[in-house]
Subunit: 406 residues, 2 copies
């Protein structure tokens, strides 16, 4: 199964890379020299990169440094001398960077790999399609995907994964109404995330409802389990029956809404992305609480990673008066925007359809329904987002491999 | 099952609170007045608090505002007027704050609740024992807990939860070696977290190991699944057999080690808590990656929330030369400290014992073992940290209820 590291790709004379990715060559290095212990490389577009010695040394694609089967680092950082330095660096006839190290190792680097990881670049994630942030005018055909053969057909799987990532939600059609669908289809991405409502939950009206979800009430936009340190990533709801009057699903892209707030009132956005707020579950037998700013910014990019849109599980805010004022103004504005069709889409799920959404990004709710007019039954589960992203990368890798082998 | 909100506790004349917590009275309010739309309260120690109107209004413990059964907010923030203000505020004869609001509502607030949530305070988490950050001189008796009757005995459960939280790890003893222990005992906290290695994993040597864990190699200190957006919170390892020479478990408190780094080299600590680093799983059929600073600081407190101590799954660092230099110096120093008995403890697990640790705080590893000298078999699983914390709060609540009823 596992591919063995090939130190040299025969046809090109270029060395292998320290992982399973492919690195198409965009630019060739034209000159190199040892500098400050590291290596200066000049590229064919005239740009220059200064590599830190440890970045190159610990990723040297030789079998002593990188395990040839697992491609994991086989040597601990502390095994390399602290004063490790490049003694000599050059571009060899095949176009690879060749380095002689002070620890006696000689390494060669693939130019595609070297260019990808040049200093000052964000880490690439080449198989991740660009996200589309959407408002109320979203054309739902962009998120409707045929799932009639999804257990077998990797192209259907790929389209579903892409919609889920790009728009943060997707409606998979033609799944039938077998109760096992909710076990089998989300599991194509990865393991289901168990939780105190059960690994699989049935969204039906219950006489002794322990959550508003299990009533026929309308539910305003929200995220699930905001009271947890780690909110569930993806939620799936498979529709078995939907005959009641009402019971439409509401969806909104919180990243779209908070971006509107950032533009119209940056000081309120700032308050909501820096003020710790506690979400608290108030139940008799569980007591989940978590304190974090509502808008969680990615430290790497400054963009939202998740939004804890939590209308009814907020603990009393203990911020000072002035901060509380900004937080409440910001919350009110967000909740108002969440009530507007400018920012939301409405979907009436049909039996055999499964709605999936990124619970850290896409808000969900529903309109009230009248159980006397007919049954409404959904089955739900959670899966982590990282499973979707891993699947997207693997599907893209398989696609490349098919292209190569055809 | 659910308790119904009691608007007034008969014996004291004080109003109920909007949740299930208890609020012992530490100070009494002595005066109150409407101010800036909110309420100024003077306490019996002379201190003053100015409450924002929305904090008080949306937590008014009346059944229109707080659902009497679920104690969740029954009214959306947007239902209150944006210019809501206190018209009149006073301390009533029972010692409660009484407020008349511009929307016509009259509310009364319990003094214990009011004092707990005064502005400028950190949100309290009264049942969470203080953490102990430890080094190599930790006395292991502090983390050894009898588990002989843990499925039945809530006091054993409480002691185990406390050790797990306070020290970030615990050794539960006298569990026997039934293979189902790893299903039943961690499930006392909450549902097991499934993952690509399985809901339950057997740590035994395998001929076709897809992870170093399944070899007899020594494993340096690390955290599990650093490549995920959300790393597993708690890990449990139940020992069935441990007869080999070697195979001791190594543990270290990463919060202790990074604090040492912060003191001795603040600029390296700063680099590791701000520079995005990518952890990348390199496998044939999964491709997990996550980019985040190694030391994740809690935005609410500035203290570490988790440390992604990842010796062998780091993607090439693309920081600029100067930053890369600090990151590598910091990493080297951390890994050196992780190799020192000043910072680690060694445990030889016996059959029937279960090691549990906070995978976001406590690093684990093992010494190499010689499979020819005897068998070594552990069974493992993950549970989220939030389940531990919820359980700790509920166990404390039960203890209070027992005190009251005795």
């Amino acid at each position: 199964m596992a591919q063995v590291l090939e130190p040299v790709a025969e046809s090109t004379g270029l060395p292998g890379t320290p992982d399973f990715d492919s690195y198409p060559i965009q630019h060739w290095p034209v000159a190199a020299r040892a500098a400050e212990g590291g290596v200066d490389v000049e590229w064919d577009d005239g740009s220059r990169s200064r590599y830190h010695p440890m970045v190159l040394r610990e990723n040297s694609p030789d079998p002593e440094t990188i395990h040839p089967v697992t491609r994991e680092q086989a040597r601990m950082l502390t095994e390399f001398p602290a004063d490790l330095a490049a003694i000599e660096a050059s571009i060899d006839p095949a176009g690879a960077l060749a380095v002689r190290w002070s620890d006696g190792t000689a390494s060669r680097y693939h130019p595609g790999w070297l260019y990808t990881y040049r200093p000052g670049e964000a880490t690439r994630d080449e198989d991740m399609p660009e996200r589309v942030i959407w408002g109320g005018d979203l054309d739902l055909s962009a998120v409707r995907v045929d799932g009639s053969n999804i257990l077998e057909d990797e192209d259907q799987l790929a389209r579903w994964c892409e919609a889920l990532h790009v728009h943060g939600f997707a409606i998979l059609e033609n799944l039938g109404t077998d109760r096992s669908v909710i076990e089998q289809v989300p599991a194509l991405l990865g393991p289901l995330r168990d939780n105190n409502f059960g690994r699989i939950f049935d969204v039906v009206t219950k006489p002794d409802a322990d959550s508003n979800a299990y009533t026929s009430m309308g539910l305003p936009l929200h995220v699930d389990l905001a009271t947890r340190e780690y909110m569930p990533g993806l939620q799936f709801l498979h529709c078995l029956q939907n005959e009641s009057t009402g019971g439409e699903s509401l969806l909104a892209d919180s990243f779209f809404i908070v971006e509107k707030l950032r533009r119209e009132a940056p000081e309120l956005y700032e308050a909501l992305s820096t003020t710790p707020m506690t979400s608290a579950n108030k139940a008799v037998n569980t007591d989940y609480r978590w304190t974090v700013p509502m808008i969680h910014l990615d430290p790497a990019t400054g963009e939202p990673l998740e939004v804890r849109w939590n209308p009814w599980l907020r603990a009393p805010l203990t911020a000072d008066f002035e901060t509380a004022d900004k937080v409440y103004k910001g919350l009110r504005r967000l909740f108002q925007m969440g009530d507007s069709p400018d920012n939301t889409v409405t979907v009436r799920l049909k039996p055999g359809e499964m709605l999936g959404f990124d619970n850290r990004r896409v808000l969900h709710g529903r309109t009230a329904f009248d159980p006397s007019t007919g049954g409404r039954a959904l089955r739900g589960c959670y899966v982590e987002r990282e499973e979707l992203w891993s699947r997207l990368r693997i599907v893209a890798r398989h696609k490349r491999e098919r292209l190569v082998s055809n």
